[in-house]
Symmetry: C2
Subunit: 346 residues, 2 copies
Amino acid sequence: MEDNKDVTIYDIAEKLNLATSTISRALKDHPTISDKTIKKVKKVAEEMGYRPNTLAAGLRGNNTKIIGVLVSRINRPFVSSLISGIEETAQKAGYSVMITQSHDSYTDEVNLAEALYSSRVCGIICSLAMETKDVSHFQKFIDKNIPLVFVDRVPREFETYRVMIDNYSAGYKATKHLIEQGCKRIAHLTGSQHRNTYSERKRGYTDALIEFNLPVDEELIVDCTYLTFEEGEKASNYLFDLASPPDGIFSANDSAAVGVIQCAKKRGLKIPQDIAIIGFNDDPIASIIDPGLSTITHPSVKMGQTSAKKIISHLKSSKKDNITEITFLNTEVVVRESSNRHSIEK
Amino acid sequence: MEDNKDVTIYDIAEKLNLATSTISRALKDHPTISDKTIKKVKKVAEEMGYRPNTLAAGLRGNNTKIIGVLVSRINRPFVSSLISGIEETAQKAGYSVMITQSHDSYTDEVNLAEALYSSRVCGIICSLAMETKDVSHFQKFIDKNIPLVFVDRVPREFETYRVMIDNYSAGYKATKHLIEQGCKRIAHLTGSQHRNTYSERKRGYTDALIEFNLPVDEELIVDCTYLTFEEGEKASNYLFDLASPPDGIFSANDSAAVGVIQCAKKRGLKIPQDIAIIGFNDDPIASIIDPGLSTITHPSVKMGQTSAKKIISHLKSSKKDNITEITFLNTEVVVRESSNRHSIEK
DNA sequence: TTGTAGGCGTTATCAT
DNA sequence: ATGATAACGCCTACAA
């Protein structure tokens, strides 16, 4: 099994008695090449089975058309949709996507950033690992003017693109919704506090309570670090066992909220009458579980598309300035049975 | 904002008054380089902020260490877990992963295969688009001895690696399980028939019925092409409206099975007494929905890992033969409430 | 309109 | 133990 050598522009040039530069230009419809030549070249290239070597082109032009993506884990609904959006947009614009997952480990993230840099990605999109506090490992992208987009889990301060939702107002909206349903004691399941996604949601929660003259009770705020289904169950067991249990729960994600629902059902609590619940993300489960889980939409695909567009347009523009630009995408409250006390017809 | 030029081995060589070849070797701990030099080189490289250019290395060595992945869509539980497994294994072995999605379109698949080839991936892992019947667009990988792994949705015939589950026996097991629960009229929701994943599951279903002397009734077999939640609902509405409705349903995936459950619940049917249900994949929803959905495990992460390993070990081995190797991973029946008639304590 | 030539950063080969 | 050099495939000034 011989590895048939690749056909190169040199082979085509030889066959047609032309210079490699002519071939190179003909293949990209360069205006100074005659139509006749272009046609001829393309035909022969096709016949010979020529496939451009993007590596060589990248090396030469210092421009790879590869977008690097660095996320915590791929197999989560939000993240896989995010990536899907990135890939879709990239593909349309002729870019490739290289993905890596940090598994929420800071050291992995540092190494992967290095690896992506070594691959000479033309841009990088990152959603930070849970562990990450310091983001100086991304500085070299800035220095080299490689566009960097932080998405969703973004650092507090960094001179670059950020694509996110307004977590504060989303947290506020979620809480306000529960208040409007008549809840007086609202608990909150939150995630790791140094990730500002969660601290902002919590701030929105607190401010909504204050605004509506409800007390902020620390015993109703449960820190869940990863906000898994199990953590949701555990947290709600704790909450329901309190001397004065909550009548509403705002969970900072849907997985944990589903844990809450299951727990409440096991205990025979009526949803939403005894306990109204709202989650965050609008994962597929939210509309499938019974009762349907009210939640906040998290425009994952769109965030991916937007991030990719930022990279691409940055590369196209000639400005070579450092850019700090924050894009907020809209979120909405989706009301389903888990919190809808007004139409109790169910 | 000047784009600081990259530091190259040439820069290091100059600084240390050594040859580039020495630097190159020192950086990879080549045995013929003195320890002293190695240390010195590495130290200076570090100081100067040297980052290897894998593109250049790839061009030179004709070896990119990039695994190309071509799937239908990323944002599905099975696929995202598959990719996660691939990425994890690749990363450990020092490979990168480039992902693309065909959105189940044949022409996109063809173009993406081309694009991956142009990126000179060192191997490719593909789960075919629903539409794809002819796979000759993958021939060039074989010709060039670039390892190719088809995973899950594989072609019927092709001289290459295939990683899959035994869909026939899985379909058989699922059906047998329902029979053991006492079902006499078992319906089946199946997907596109030219994808042998589905035709095999169906064959297993049919054979199980035959083996247990149950009639195979064509009106109980519903073709759902994409097997979405909505298709599941629609199909079950049809089935429940039959003069002689089924008492068991085997859906070829979980999404559609969830549609069945919701539909049955809406109609006030008792699960599993009136209608026992089993799905396929063991998606996260299966354990979350109420009643829990019985299903067949589909070892997605492991399939990804296995596929990546096939690529990597092929590249390491020196055999240059064309290889036809089919790896079957095990599946299991997971019994949950949706089909468990024996312990009705719920 | 087409050709010439040099270089992108690395590594393998063949010296020294 | 280290050096010099060519080559990987492509692109782009510059020249003709």
